[in-house]
Symmetry: C2
């Protein structure tokens, strides 16, 4: 979909405040509420906006640990990858999972409450995933940046 500068301004505003009302949004981007509502409709239906989410403090939920897990499988056959991915999707502690190029096949971000919780997750989920031959866990000491999205260049919006 083609995005003009008003669309980008709408996206930037809703990235910053996803609960902004349509009328406030309209004012922020310099449109009437009806025109703004029509634009927003397009952005949502075209999939440009994938959803709206409250960002909940992991800390408040008791998830104080973040692990980065590198995983290698025994081969890169379609069937192997598919079976692994179906299984990993069932683990609620896995927040992010990418299929990668390079030394490891997958990289995961895993949320755990504490070290004992991570040990459980490692045992019951990660090392029992199908086709896994190598797991390498490391732990985040501190979160330096965690943006909800790639930013929108203010020069374009």
């Amino acid at each position: 979909m083609e995005l003009d500068s008003i669309d980008l301004a709408i996206l930037a505003a809703l990235q910053a405040d996803g609960r902004m009302s349509n009328s406030a949004l309209a004012e922020a981007v310099g449109l009437s509420p009806s025109a703004c509502s029509r634009r927003l409709d397009h952005l949502e239906k075209s999939g440009t906006i994938r959803g709206y989410h409250a960002r909940v403090s992991n800390q408040a939920l008791g998830y104080t640990m973040t692990a980065i897990v590198h995983i290698s499988l025994s081969g890169q056959f379609q069937k192997t990858l598919r079976e692994f991915e179906e299984a990993v999707k069932r683990c609620p502690n896995v927040i992010v999972c990418y299929l990668m190029s390079g030394e490891y096949d997958y990289i995961l971000r895993v949320a755990a409450k504490d070290l004992a919780d991570y040990e459980r997750i490692h045992r019951d989920w990660l090392s029992s995933l199908p086709h896994v031959v190598k797991i390498n866990s490391s732990f985040a000491l501190r979160e330096v940046i965690d943006r909800p999205n790639v930013g929108i260049d203010p020069a374009l919006a």
Copy 2:
């Protein structure tokens, strides 16, 4: 902050739909609108809810590439870390950055439009960050999981 099962239900509902109205939320969790509004106020002011954000398709913005970058610095002195972090925060393409235990000091998730864009980011931002002695980039072939948050156990809510 102590969270009871109604609080968790509110968080789960707003994770799923951050634009849900207060009255819809109240109905979803079985409260009156006024009581629900009071709870929500607490959750926001206590920092349990860190914000509301539209999730914008990186694809639609032209960011088709995701790189995972491992970085080592020349030492772990406070000053070294601080200077690195201040610099990395200025790069808009860095979506996530963790200070890590283990082989590398930092792990970054970087969004780029294409390989040429990544080359530019690598040259102008990453390799010119202060104190960097080792950079290892790998690229995501596919996004398997990308949840906005750690999920809330439905059994508790």
